[in-house]
Each structure stands twice: as C-alpha cells, then as structure tokens.
C-alpha cells in the first residue's frame, strides 16, 4: 500500500506525491471497511461455533432458554419470510410489468414511483407501528404469523419491484418487437418472451428480499414475535419465535447466565442464513450475466 507513496516521495514531484497520498487515503478507507466486516464475521463465527451443533438447530429450548436449541426460531423465521414473499412476489412483479410495459399516463407513473421510493425509505419501526395498528388491532388478526408476514411483505415490496423492473428492462426491444410482429398479443409477449428472459434478474431480487425479511426485527417486534412459546406454530394466527428477535430478547430480557452464549449461536445461524441467501443471489447474477447471449 505504501510502496508507491515512497516511490513518489523519491521522485520529488509535488503533483505525483499528492496523487499517491490521495490514493493511499482511498485505499485505507476501503481497507477499514473490509477489515470491519471481516472482524464482525470472524468474531461471531468463532464465538458461535462453540455453541452451534446439530442439536442446537433441531431442538426446542429448555431450562428457561439456556439449554437446548433454537429450532422454533428457525422455523418462525422461515414461515415469516415465506409469508412475506407470498404477498409481495405477485404484487411486486405485476407492478414492475405495469411500469415497464403497460403504463400510459406519465403522471400516474410518476406518482406511483414516488410512492414506491418513499415506501422504501420508511423506517422499519414505522412499519411495525402500522402493522400493530392496522393488522393486529383494526383487522383483529392479533400478534401472529399473518400480521408479521404482511408487514414484512409491504417492507420488501419496493425491493422486489425495483429488481423486477430492472430485469424486465434488460430484455432487448427486438425480442418484444419480433414477438408482436408474429401476431402475439401484448400479454403473450410479456408472459412468454419478456418474463422468461428476465427470470434470473427477478429471482435475484426475490432472494435478496427474502434475506432482508429474514433479518428484520423491528417490524415483527409488535406484530408477530414472542420470546418463548412451547408450541410450534400451527396456524396463521399463532405467535412465532424468530431468529433476529430471539437474539434481541436473549440480550435484553431475563438475566440468566448462559443467555449470551445462546445469543452467539443464534447470531451465527442467522448470519449464515443471510450470507447463504445473499451469496446465492450474487452467484445467480454473475452466472446469468455470463450466460446471456445478447
């Protein structure tokens, strides 16, 4: 990192020295960022590995949370993410289809876009407040899987719309024109040509948003999550345990020694889950970019 800087000083050219100092500072910046991420991952991996084993991910908690596993939390997070996706996937993709192919009024498009962008910027705790008031209280779903899934679904909607729109726009215009000139309708063109050709991009967006939904805590704090339940969820109206909430609760509720250890394990499981999900998305994107023939 500093070799070039030393070389620059030897050449005694002020402008070259300035350039090398600048580049060194920039390199230090990116180095700090990567180092911080590295320390975080390494620390949680090292501490968590002592706790995580097969029993930890397949068993229910025992002895007031300090023994046993976190299976109900894993299941809860899976169900919440799935529920969010069931709501957000069709809504998001159809919105993107409308925005890219069907919208005629520019004014309406602009308003819808401002709506989507603003929704993306709403703090996650505000989603929680809305869910509490609307789904839990007004619709009388109660604190449950359904309320939590719907809140998370609204939260990831902008991500899915954005990724789908981008994917739909990468399909060359010539594909669409060729299809239309062969007598296909607009919908047939969309359904049989444009959507299949953008599926990997849409998939990337879906996977990333599942990762986001799985890791969110604030929205489910008041709408779905519970620290401890003896039963596994058996309906949409069950309270659920969830990995991110479990970490928070272990660190803030109760004061048994051993809770922090379980939290390390839970954080590792959540981290691996999110890393695998994100890695998968990145892999699919790179793969599909290389495979693209146009």
């Amino acid at each position: 990192m500093f070799n070039q800087l030393i070389k620059a000083f030897k050449s005694k050219n002020d402008r070259t020295i300035a350039q090398e100092i600048g580049f060194t500072i920039i390199k230090i910046c990116i180095f700090i960022v990567i180092l911080s991420l590295g320390i975080l991952l390494l620390y949680i991996f090292m501490k968590g590995f002592r706790v995580v084993n097969l029993d930890f991910i397949t068993q229910t908690p025992r002895d007031g949370m300090v023994k046993g596993g976190i299976f109900p939390a894993i299941l809860g997070t899976f169900l919440l993410s799935l529920g969010a996706l069931i709501f957000a996937l069709p809504t998001g993709v159809l919105t993107a289809v409308w925005l890219t192919e069907y919208a005629t009024s520019q004014k309406f498009v602009r308003i819808v876009r401002i709506g989507i962008n603003s929704l993306a910027g709403v703090p996650s705790i505000v989603f929680g407040l809305f869910g509490l008031m609307f789904f839990v209280k007004y619709m009388q779903f109660g604190v449950c899987l359904l309320s939590g899934s719907l809140v998370l679904g609204i939260l990831i909607l902008p991500t899915i719309i954005g990724a789908s729109e981008e994917a739909l726009l990468t399909v060359p215009k010539a594909f669409k024109e060729a299809s239309l000139s062969l007598g296909a309708t607009r919908w047939e063109t969309m359904y049989k040509i444009i959507l299949p050709n953008s599926v990997s991009g849409i998939l990337t967006g879906i996977i990333l948003s599942v990762g986001r939904a799985a890791g969110e805590t604030a929205p489910i704090l008041m709408t779905a999550a519970t620290f401890y339940t003896t039963r596994l969820p058996n309906s949409l109206f069950s309270k659920v345990m969830a990995l991110p909430y479990h970490i928070y609760a272990l660190m803030t509720e109760g004061s048994k020694s051993g809770q922090t250890e379980i939290a390390y394990g839970t954080a590792l499981v959540l981290l691996i889950l999110v890393l695998v999900i994100n890695g998968l998305a990145i892999y699919i994107r790179i793969k599909s970019r290389r495979a693209r023939k146009w």
Binding site: V33, L37, P90, P123, G128, L271, L275
Partner: protein
Amino acid sequence: MSINKGMRKNFIERILPITASVSLIFLLGIAFTLVTTSLPVFKTVSLQGFLFGSEWIPTAEKPSLGIWSLMVASFYVTFGAILFAIPLGLGSAVYIAEIATPKVKEVIKPIMEILAGIPSVVFGFFGIVFVAPIVQKVFHLDTGLCGFTAAIILGLMAIPTVASISEDAISAISKDLRNASYALGANRWETIVKAIMPAAKTGIFTSIILGVSRALGETMTVLMVAGGAVKIPTGLFVPMRPMTAAIAGEMGETVIGSPHYHALFAMGLVLFIINIIFNLIADHFQKGKRNV
C-alpha cells in the same frame, strides 16, 4: 378480429393498475394510521410541548411527554454515524469506480453487498459484545453503551448505501470529461478530485441524504447499543435514547390508548415525515440527473 385480439385485455392486464397502486395505498395507509393514532396525544400536551418539551416521563400519573431529548439523541447518533460513513463510503466508491482493476472490483462489490445484507440485530449484538467494551476501555467511560458506539455501528451500516449510490454516480460520468482532463495534463488524482467528483456531486449528495435517512430510521442497533438514558445528551459519549429506540423499547410496556401510546405513534409520525422529506429530496435530485 386479429386487431381486436391485440387490444382486448385479459383479467391480469385489467388488474395491473391496481397492483401497481398497492405500494402507494400502503404508503397512504401508513400515513393515515400514524396521523389518526397520534392526534389524541395533543389532548395531553401541546404540539410545541411535545416537540420541544425536555421531559419524557411517560409513565407518571401526570405524564410529561416532551420528545426533545429523544430527538436530540437521534440527531447525535445520526450525525456521528454520517461522520464515519461519508469519508469511508465515499472513499470506497472512488476506489471501486476509479482505482480498482476489474478483477478486484468483482470481489469488492459483493463484499459491499454482504455488508448491506447483515441484519441490524446482528450489528447491534456485535456492538454490545465487541465494540462497546473497547469504546469503554479506550475512552475510560462508565459504560460502553453510548451514543458514540451506536454512531460507529450505524456508520458502518450506512457505508454500503453511501458507497453504492456514489459509485453509480461516479461511474456514470462520461469518458469525454475524463479524457479532456487527461488531455489538459491532469493526472489521475487531479482528474478524480477536480473533474469527476464535481460532476458527480448531485449523486454523491443523494447518497449522503439516503445514508442519513437510513441511520436515522435504524432501530435495533440504537435500541441495543445507545444506552437508553432519557435526558438531553451532553455529548456523544453518554448513554442516550434515540426516537426509534424509544418506540421499539417502550411499546411493549405501554397501555393501549394511554397518552404514552399515542405519543409513541406521534414520534413515529415525526420519523416518517423526516424520512419522506429526505426521500423526496433524493428523488428530486435523481430525477434532475436523469433529465441531463
């Protein structure tokens, strides 16, 4: 007939405008819910007393519901966070866009995405178990759970936002500008600082606004790390309770329909309005960029 076939819309095509409105409907629904649930708080406290009152004693028999100390705490941690995120995020953006070779870029961009994908509760947990003890030792504090620790972690979380949007802006600058600068005899660094950065300034500004909005709205990290003390913070190194932490932390203990309950929603409304304003500003700048 064949023309008709092309014009006639099927069921899905008919409902497309409705599905497209869903985001908008929910945005308005959120706004409506926040406003209607907030309003009853003003039976207990005036608007001025709510925003600028310095006492937050929501559970007393005669509750004091001034959120000034919580707003100041939010401001402190957000400001601290952005002090970390601007240089590091912008530096990363310049590195990725201008200095890294394509091979290095292919490694670093996914690293940024991984950083962006780490759940906030994991950041908060890391803050409690790793960062806070170090901060406590280095600065000789009574507790490491304070505004400064929260600011470090929030800054780290805002870096991917600042970096990715700035990088897009820098990469979008045309080659002509770069070549013109080189032709005038500028070296790479002078080109970056004097030609490219000024040309990308709206994009960079947008990235900072969105970074601020991300840090301001972040909940779990500040709830776990900022310390939670309810008084007007005297500096960054004391425990404090930002607005998001107050909502998340106190909602579970409050009685539904009490002034405290409505006050927490009103606080949510304040956050919502600030974030919408930030997003509209960012949106405005991005629109301006598209028209150029």
